[in-house]
Symmetry: D2
Subunit: 398 residues, 4 copies
């Protein structure tokens, strides 16, 4: 791993490398400017990640994302399916010596080059494996939702503090280019005062035996898996924390997929400023995902939203006396690469990640309040977090 | 007025005129077919409307809409501002003899050519004027929301039955081309089973002295004025009636506009099939209005929605293995003209209007449940209507 | 007809009526402003139009457009099909006394209320009927293309001058709201310097016996009927006149539709500033119509373009370092109503129409050069017009 | 390099690897199916590329593309700027021993792991370096345009045949997902018969000293650099070869950028079937790039088109009696990775690349005819290619 002088404070920045190449601008000034890629780290200086769990998220999103990351490389795999792990290791050039099963998880401690452990297991297993990772002194990137209860979240945070390791929750959307542009626009008042956020994140599950439909493994149904994107977006984009929620659940009795978890969850969240967030999430609905921010002076919409690819962002506001839609050409980047690069930079520069354990804990607090509200059919208060749950905003990508 | 034989039953159809002109198709069969306009009625055979109230809705939408209606003409005006009424009468060629003030409302009874009275007054005045209109035996088209209470709505229905006059509530969106196409698509299962409707209808009010912000005149704030579009759309598009609601209100203490009525209202409505509708409406938000219907097999969105012009409809569903957006080129038509033409056809053919008093009453029942839920912070049941609240769906326009 | 004092000079403005009604703005200043309709003229003061020819353009577009015009009414019909004319007259409330056939065209002279004669005949008949209309001293609105030859166009202009009647060519797109906004944007340099216009206007003809496929009646094929929109748009939007063209025609030998006229025409037109216009038009292509203006600093596109309804306008240019699409919400208005209102205002105020005979003549000059170029397979020069062919730009509609 | 049995015939397919992982479908059948990535080759089995030229295309597009390629890796660099090459080599993990300058180009012969030489030099240098590469027996991927003259192209083809090396011209758009879907749709008659292709590809150059504005280095101006995309698209999407062109050039005398090459080029190309392609390209126009295919039954448009990212594809055709726009969600893939992977598969399986030298030669023939036509101001014939210039279509990506 690169020797990097830890920076004293402030937000994690890209490592300042000597080997970046400057490009002259050959196009007219009215054309979008062009910038050389990088600086990024050559493979031998990258931060090494162990991937724990080889489900579809690891296979289809996370492992391919290393190719376009600037600072990361996959160096170890943890899986219960050794033949699969061997295949994957071969594809990605990971040494056979760096494969282990869950029982042998602690071997990661001694494996060369493992800087970060990325937990990509079913939600119900995050708690155990974050604790085990902290114990062997490795930095941790943990998939969302953080865990199945606030108690678990709090223990996970404490364990990482004790172990003196960084803990980041993998809220990929907070690192994604359009959300970053949107967050900046909101902060700069481009929409006036934010009044209402409306969102939906749904998909139609098939196989009733998958772990996402098992309460112990998943912690819940649509809400913690897909609804959490709406919830988290309402928090980080507004910069506020909700103080009350009111919610309903739908769990059809006759559908074999929903014996244990909700099919749908609808939420109204109230924020101290008077802003509200209204969102739905579903497991029995064709893929539909959008996010609309309504302010006094205009609105913004990401539609489709929350997906791995293909998000589109537009603004609507009055220009020259006409309501005008603006579609900025923001280039798509792999969100997992951006998220992992953020973690890598934090490791390289000894910074705290933007979305640490407190960010995951706070979502879990609200999720519990949502379930309570739905169960009781009443407006439910949410305990305020002790302090800020995340660090300041990330600038838009150039 | 035209002598038309009342049809015995079924849905109101366009009068079957002898004078329509057929056009041959000169374009290739792969081009959208072309159809001659009409048949429509010449001015001297049209159904005559008295317009009660000369506010901006009458001036900007309703009176101009007569020009593109097929069966209607404006023949009388009721206004408290006689100079304004004289100007408007001159513009539209209405006889000075056919202008009266509110005190003289009953003069409409004897005015020649008045077949329908269109009540375009502040919400709080609908009750009184529907009763007065019924008493003088005129058919009534009444703006939404129907009245300020279910008790008033019930009295209005009874009065119209006693008076043997037709009562139609002016739910223009139920007559609008895109909603008609959407309603048909839902009925035909184009989206699979409907699971979730998400909508927003908001605008940013300015003048704090306008009647819309006066509780007695408006009956409420954003909910009955703009939120009602979301509510009514969730009912007529799904064909279901909600049985529970849970809702919140925002009424900022320090905003002079919201001394009496809510600035915003967020609602979750639950339907017997398990479908939910989640919607927000606001009076302190930049104009933002959309309607999304999420089904098991796809979703549809109208965005912008609910406005007088410029609605756009799209569907998203799987085609050839790819999620595909479909944007059918549905021609915009004046919704007020379509709505008034529906009333005219009902009068000409002695039919019941699709959106009679029961449709308005049911929205009012739900509005009252919403306010109760928000006040009490709890899930609230809604009494089921005695029967169907509206007649069968209108076919899409060709 | 209204007594209106002719204005001495300048561009035709809406008649300044006393009876307009002012509306206060009730919405916040960040919302699109609202304006009352009008002032427009009551029916008894409107400019009367005789419609010559009852083909599909008259039936489907022009006659319905009177309903939304501000200053016009239909008062007479000229048709060779008296039963059809009687039906149409009944629909529009036109007196039976105001119907005549082509032989009786000159009866229009004595018919009460006929101020303008709108020639909606096959192209090849424009020449004869403009001459006859000028002879009886009536103002003339003539459909595009003006005639089948420049010689005819010149005679038509001379005849109208001799007859002291106004002649306007019905270039509806020059009166249409999006084109007006676009023309203003170009003049203000919003796209930088205009470099290139690219356009297409095509449709797929079916019936091979229709007059549009008859050379004598149509004057040509796709070029004068639909290609003329691209040509005319390149001229009025740029404000320049082309000095050279190079073109090709496609006329398939084995297609019964194209025995006399071209199926397709492709044109490159060069303008003195270095700007070029490149466009295609077709009669054997599914409806496809767009118009793109490319400048040094951005581009604008209308797509679909040239149609009666549904045009959409967008701009693309650099904003905040990103290429950004802007879609202003410009409300659609009936183009025929706008065009006829322009003529009516010119009559009422004794102004010259923006698109007089010289505008039509210049298009015809270029069309002849295009045909010559295609025939000879070489770059062909175009004679410059003697002066400006049209009056200054129309301001965007509010 | 992997030992792969050459396949006897047919189109290059992905290597059939043993190590691909199957994923079960967990979503409902109405959702877009999900597929695991790969199979792809681990780094140590990949085809090695030497990159010749470290300009912005290499730095910003080609070198980053290796990360998402399935079968390729960069193993050598050729550059005249050794410090820059050292920096880049460090970034990409290329051995210092595998860097050379142009004089030392032939050292590539002995460098381990160099399977393919990718020529990314100014156009005017392609000829020399393809010949040199062929001489040392390496497979060649050469950027477009192939060379500055047909004579050079023919020599290049002959040299590669003599050297028994594969030659591929880097027409990245032929490997790009949306074009592949479009090509398939055209072949299947989804648009009916293709009648007209309209396209534009323009950008606004700044620096007048860049090689693209130097005739000897660039071979021409906008036409061979950006116009070639329109030209090539019209050929591969239609599957036809043009037999006549007519064209114009714009080369402003007073613009320092265009002392040697054209600023703009407009072309009409005629094809034997009666189809036409009309396109423009510019170097003095804000970035504007689209491609529209007009058929008898519908049209398709890619807009923006031809860029590295952000292309969007839509179809318009009649569905249920309405013209309907369809936007399929086709996932963007790196075009350079796809193009290089195609070359790699051809090398691994001893296949011929889809876009070999004949494809580049034919574009060059047409470019020369275009310049001749513009110079002479007349329709110009094009010699037909001896046979097919490219291999059969590539299937759409899943």
């Amino acid at each position: 791993m690169a020797a990097v002088v830890p920076s004293a404070s402030g937000q994690a920045q890209k490592p300042n490398e000597a080997n970046d190449v400057q490009l002259s601008q050959i196009h007219a000034a009215t054309e979008a400017p062009e910038k050389a890629p990088g600086p990024f780290l050559p493979v031998n200086r990258r931060v090494g990640f162990a991937i724990v769990g080889l489900g579809r998220l690891s296979l289809n999103q996370i492992l391919p994302a290393f190719a376009t990351s600037d600072y990361c490389k996959p160096v170890a795999l943890v899986s219960g399916d050794r033949p699969k792990a061997l295949k994957i290791a071969a594809q990605y050039g990971i040494a056979v010596s760096h494969i282990t099963d869950y029982a042998g998880f602690e071997k990661l401690k001694e494996m060369s080059g493992v800087d970060v452990i990325y937990i990509v297991l079913p939600n119900g297993m995050h708690y155990e494996f974050v604790l085990r990772a902290a114990k062997i002194g490795k930095h941790i990137l943990c998939e969302k939702p953080m865990a199945n209860s606030t108690a678990q979240c709090e223990e996970m945070i404490a364990a990482c503090q004790r172990g003196n390791v960084k803990l980041m929750i993998a809220y990929r959307q907070q690192y994604e280019p359009m959300n970053r542009a949107l967050e900046k626009a909101v902060r700069e008042g481009k929409l006036g005062k934010l009044r209402s956020i409306v969102a939906s994140n749904s998909q139609n599950e098939g196989d009733p035996t998958q772990w996402r439909l098992n309460k112990q493994l998943a912690g819940g149904g649509a809400l913690p898996d897909v609804g959490i994107y709406c919830l988290n977006a309402s928090r980080f984009l507004s910069g506020e924390e909700p103080n009350e929620v009111i919610a309903t659940l739908v769990q059809p009795k006759d559908d074999p997929r929903f014996k244990e978890v909700e099919a749908r969850c609808e939420v109204i969240a109230r924020f101290p400023s008077g802003m509200t967030a209204t969102f739905t999430s579903g497991y029995d609905v064709h893929r539909s995902a959008f996010l609309r921010l309504e302010g006094t002076d205009g609105f913004a919409e990401v539609d489709p939203a929350f997906g791995y690819h293909g998000s589109k962002l537009r603004f609507t506001k009055l220009m020259d006396g006409k309501d005008t839609e603006l579609h900025p050409a923001i280039e798509e980047k792999d969100q997992f690469a951006l998220e992992m690069d953020h973690m890598a930079v934090c490791v390289l520069q000894n910074q705290q990640p933007r979305t640490g354990g407190e960010e995951g804990l706070q979502d879990q607090r609200i999720i519990e309040a949502i379930y309570r509200s739905a169960r009781e059919g009443r407006l439910t208060s949410i305990e305020a977090p002790a302090g800020a749950t995340r660090l300041g905003i990330l600038p838009p990508l150039e």
